[in-house]
Symmetry: C2
Subunit: 364 residues, 2 copies
């Protein structure tokens, strides 16, 4: 065992063993390797090994039975009683997220549960830190909006750990292809964007630019709905009419490309935006370029947020149940917590969103 970051060796061994326990590689009741084995495997002195073990005994991860060895302590009885639920969201203060959290909080409070709230800012490293933290705490379950769910995630291993510890979790908004049979509450993003693009096509739009977020499943699915609606309504799918952006580019890229397209006099008669936020921020640019909505160009959002009401022209958008979605996720989690066989009884709720027609599109 190397001493990195100037950490003492006993501390490194302690952290290593703690991770083995938290990740479920050493299970409750299981004996840990003997002092001799640890001494040899990690090339440490007996004193160092003993110090690491005694600290883990103090912290309640291990217990020693005289003459028998050292074992991993079961924390499940304590955990089952904690009345704490972890809630990991990508954002907590912006856009539709506060209302989703309010829905979660309402149901859990009414059932005497507390929420431990985490905000990843859609950064994978933050998500990993919060997973570790929640595994070391006593939580009875987890509601999670995954960070960058469309990308490869190194954090999938944590879900295995939750499974091993019998801590149920519910995905909200998005989930992973790799974890398809798990409990979740999501919108049917394909159907939602399909309804928008079908509507635009029926109004006579021929050149519909689509803007999509590339790093979460919602973006991927909304793009699928866009492509499918074009095909079904007989319009061509043109990859050059699709703008993909990642979280880090969201303030700049969608607007820079639209600006370029319009300055190049590309024929655009509608912009179907990933969400209301992108659509809302598109208005100042269109205004600067002298384009009127909906006379010169149509624009649509997604999520029926307060922003859709507060654009210069009220935005045609797609419904999002917000509080109800949060409430549903909480209710499902409570059902899972009360079901000993929850792993075999996943609950999936897929909400079909509705097109909400306001003033930002017109017949061509």
């Amino acid at each position: 065992m190397q001493s990195r970051n100037n950490q003492p060796k006993y501390y490194m061994l302690m952290e290593h063993l703690k991770e083995e326990i938290l990740m479920g590689r050493i299970m409750p009741g299981e004996q840990i390797p003997s002092e001799n084995t640890l001494t040899e495997t990690h090339k440490l002195s007996r004193h160092t090994v003993r110090k690491a073990i005694s600290m883990l005994v103090n912290e309640g991860y291990l217990y020693t039975e005289h003459g028998r060895g050292t074992f991993c302590l079961s924390r499940s009885s304590k955990r089952n009683d904690s009345k704490n639920i972890g809630v990991i969201m990508t954002y907590i203060s912006e856009y539709i997220f506060p209302r989703v959290i309010e829905g979660i909080e309402r149901v859990l409070s009414n059932n005497k549960y507390s929420i431990i709230l985490k905000n990843t800012s859609n950064i994978l490293n933050n998500e990993a830190l919060y997973f570790e933290d929640l595994l070391s705490k006593d939580i009875e379950g987890l509601i999670i909006e995954p960070t960058k769910s469309a990308l490869f995630s190194n954090n999938l291993k944590f879900y295995e750990a939750f499974d091993k510890h019998n801590i149920p979790y519910v995905f909200l908004h998005g989930d992973y292809r790799e974890l398809e049979g798990k409990s979740k509450v999501v919108l049917d993003d394909v159907a939602g964007m399909y309804s928008v693009v079908e509507y635009l096509a029926k109004l006579g739009h021929k050149n519909i630019v689509g803007i999509f977020k590339a790093d979460d499943t919602q973006g991927i699915d909304r793009h699928r709905g866009y492509a499918k609606a074009l095909t079904d309504t007989g319009l061509p799918y043109d990859p050059d009419s699709v703008i993909w952006y990642h979280t880090e580019e969201q303030e700049i890229k969608p607007f820079a490309i639209i600006k370029q397209m319009l300055e190049e006099k590309r024929n655009i008669d509608a912009i179907a935006c990933y969400n209301d936020e992108i659509a809302f921020k598109m208005f100042p640019l269109l205004n600067k370029l002298g384009l009127k909505v909906p006379d010169d160009i149509s624009i649509t959002g997604f999520d029926d947020s307060f922003l859709s009401e507060n654009c210069p022209v009220k935005l045609t958008t797609v419904s999002h149940p917000k509080e109800v979605l949060g409430e549903e996720a909480a209710k499902i989690l409570l059902q899972l917590i009360n079901d000993k066989n929850y792993k075999n009884n996943p609950i999936q709720k897929i909400i079909i969103p509705k097109l909400i027609i306001k003033d930002s599109c017109r017949k061509r």
Copy 2:
């Protein structure tokens, strides 16, 4: 001891003893009354008393020393280590609150703390339930926006309990007259509203109606600023020009009274609103009555929220640091947690808000 709510008698005794411990009336290490005493005082059988005690031993509230008696267990070592902070807010999903919570979360996360979030909806009973819950959990500190801080609160006793258990707390937005020397982060609400009314007076307004929330200290203080600015600028203070409302009336009363005043042709040339939310909701009413802002009437807000930007006319308002306020509260709490002598070293931060002049007022 009566058996009320059909609870078994041992359960009632258990709850009673638990409350004594949580509220700090029985302190760690202190011996609880003997079986004999409990049997006599509460008129219960020995069997019932033993059952209650053994359950509290199981739950980690008490421990028994053979031949010596039963004692209250110290939970402080566990608590000091929990890395959990309770955050009780009146609202979590509306208006400026999500951004305050984001500020709190950012600082606490960076310091490896988790927040346990509670939302009282400004209802005192909810607040009491959450206090009880947090006392029974292991939290290291508490950030609290008090519910109805201007009214008599039956919940003040919980602050004594936190004091007894050496759990520091920081008030946010408002606090209690009765707890004046405690740590807090608040706006100078008197100065904020003073700057608004002074500005209106300088523009030549003579009849300034003020709308204030009656059940929190912010409302009381903003009213004080209003009254002081009128007096200082030589305008009369007229109680009939002041509208007070309680939380439960906020959707109806301020608007009903303004409507009545205007229909009675009362001379009103400005409305100074408690916050941006009230001002924002005043626009549809003024519009229906055929009044133009600012030509016919001036209107002001407070808090510099997104609503102030999204009124039909951009709202003159007062700054509110939101995230920064949350961050400050979290930083102060961390300082208190690390200060053994924190009760004698309260930290109070009073932020002076600034007047932000936009388009909703004009010279008279």
